[in-house]
């Protein structure tokens, strides 16, 4: 299943090219806009260079950890090929997770060539805490996959899930801080962002990298708690979902 996910990520050459171009363009555009904003009125908080490095990293991470398992799972439920997934001796969740991990690995391979370009455009320097960054990044990725699997299971209750998938995508991107760093979120929005698990997908690793978070122990402890809690929720949800199985189309 890992292999399938990997091969699918690399199946279409035009797709690979466009993804790379999009990533470089997005980082470049963010740089232009924020430089202009800061040029007009120096903002409080992060210095410009740190902000640019943060945004570049957060977006690079978002591309690298982007999950496609939700749309794949929903498509297979819609057309009924989920039958075969359920008929396998290997558990459904394990198949989905392997598929996503393989797909991410494939995605990393195609992103690899543009990473130097992005780092250059985003003027990224060496990480403030390399091991801490990797640790929080991996934990964030596990949380991202768990959340995606949870949304995938929604398909067993709802036939049409594109709205839920869109909601999940927007919320996770916004609260991960890929567009605006969480430090700039006002009042209750900041509290909410702080409480939700999405910040581990973007903000936390990037902030560790640029040195805004210097002690990672607290963040790691809470991230691990999320990983365990979401795993429990997944098992529970799946045991309920499989009782609802109805294969569509005869």
């Amino acid at each position: 299943m890992i292999r399938i996910g990997f091969r699918l990520a690399l199946a279409y050459r035009s797709n690979i090219l466009i993804t790379c171009v999009t990533l470089v363009a997005q980082v470049f555009l963010l740089r232009m806009i924020w430089t202009s904003v800061y040029g007009a009125r120096p903002a409080a908080g992060l210095p410009l260079e740190a902000l640019l490095a943060y945004l570049t990293l957060a977006n690079l991470q978002a591309f690298a950890t982007h999950t496609i398992v939700v749309s794949t799972a929903h498509h297979r439920i819609r057309v009924g090929t989920v039958f075969f997934d359920l008929a396998r001796p290997v558990g459904y969740l394990r198949q989905l997770a392997s598929f996503q991990v393989g797909n991410t690995l494939g995605g990393l391979c195609l992103l690899a060539p543009v990473v130097p370009v992005v780092l250059l455009v985003g003027s990224i320097t060496a990480p403030a805490d390399g091991p801490g960054y990797l640790l929080t990044l991996v934990l964030g990725y596990v949380i991202a996959v768990e959340l995606a699997l949870l949304i995938s299971l929604a398909g067993f209750w709802m036939t049409e899930t594109s709205a839920v998938a869109l909601f999940h995508r927007l919320v996770s991107q916004f609260f991960a801080g890929t567009m605006v760093p969480l430090t700039y979120f006002p009042g209750f929005l900041g509290v909410l962002a702080e409480a939700l698990p999405f910040k581990y997908l973007g903000y936390v690793p990037a902030a560790v990298y640029v040195g805004q978070i210097s002690d990672v122990s607290g963040a790691v402890a809470i991230a691990v708690a999320w990983v365990v809690g979401l795993a429990g929720l997944l098992v529970l949800t799946w045991s309920r979902a499989r009782r609802r199985v109805v294969i569509q189309g005869g």
């Binding site: 699918l8 001796p89 009782r243």
Partner: protein
């Protein structure tokens, strides 16, 4: 190999409403409709048998197969497949069965065929050596070599079906469920699929449960059929017994009375006689009293027999 006793499956879904605000009412309703897909099915299949599991669309065939694979849990009844209860020992049961659906494919659309076969090998823990010999055999038997490295989306339907058959038997399951494996195929491709089923059954003693609407499949492959409709078994037995009926003489007369030689005129104005031995004598005796406009002789065939059973 398979033992099914008193199997029922009732689906429960929210009632849908039509008319103004219908969608909204459907969304909030607490009323449910119950639909019984399988209503007390009992049968047994022995090891190495090839049985035709037949019935009109919506008869409950696919639901039965989904229960036999352990994906659906029945509402009541007992099922044993190769000594296992499918939905309780789902994983162990999965290793015992291969499934082909003519209407949907287990192959990955965007990837070369070989990738899907490799996936099946790894999901079913087929050791590398056994995978290689199994694949070699299937390449010869199904002629996979021409398109093993072609993305599935570029395969013809016949090629795709051969790929699906290969994926279903790659781990050599003792039991195969084939749901319309010849649907949409041309004559030659159908023939290839049938030959493959015969070969698999012969060499591996593989038990086959075949669902199809093409009775030529049944005549070529099965000695026994189970007919179901509305979730119930209508017939279970040998095909030979089913078609072992007298030939019939169908006569149209210029002007016919209500009855001729004890046979009533049917709705189409035809008189249908069972032919026992003396066909010329039967025709002569009718012709002596009436003017025959047309006559024909009907051989008993599976299709008309099955139609007759459904119509009951």
């Amino acid at each position: 190999m398979i033992r099914v006793d008193g199997l029922t499956k009732v689906f429960r879904r929210p009632r849908t409403f039509s008319g103004p605000l219908g969608t909204l009412r459907t969304l909030v309703t607490r009323q449910y409709e119950e639909k019984s897909a399988v209503a007390g099915v009992t049968f047994e299949v022995g090891e190495g048998e090839v049985i035709g599991y037949l019935g009109p669309n919506g008869a409950g065939k696919s639901t039965t197969i989904k229960i036999l694979t352990g994906i659906l849990t029945p509402t009541s009844g007992t099922v044993e497949v190769n000594g296992l209860v499918p939905w309780r020992d789902r994983s162990a049961n999965a290793r015992n069965v291969g499934v082909v659906f003519g209407q949907r494919s287990q192959l990955w659309w965007d990837l070369p065929l070989i990738e899907s076969l490799r996936l099946v090998g790894s999901l079913y823990d087929v050791p590398a050596a056994r995978f290689a010999t199994s694949l070699k055999k299937l390449r010869d038997l199904l002629g996979l070599d021409d398109f093993l490295d072609t993305p599935v989306r570029q395969l013809s339907l016949g090629q795709r079906m051969r790929g699906d058959l290969a994926a279903a038997v790659l781990y050599e399951p003792p039991l195969l469920y084939l749901d319309e494996p010849t649907v949409g195929l041309d004559v030659l491709a159908k023939e290839a699929v049938r030959e493959f089923i015969v070969e698999t059954n012969r060499t591996g003693r593989t038990t086959v449960v075949l669902t199809t609407h093409d009775l030529a499949d049944v005549e070529a492959l099965c000695r026994r059929i189970i007919l179901i409709d509305h979730g119930r078994v209508l017939f279970d037995g040998a095909i030979d017994a089913l078609v072992d009926q007298p030939r019939r003489l169908v006569v149209l007369l210029e002007s016919g009375p209500g009855q001729v030689r004890g046979v009533s005129r049917d709705a189409d104005g035809r008189y249908v006689f069972d032919i026992h031995d003396d066909l010329p004598g039967l025709i002569a005796s009718i012709a002596a009293e009436h003017t025959i406009r047309d006559l024909s002789i009907e051989e008993p065939d599976l299709e008309s027999v099955i139609k007759g059973i459904y119509a009951r």
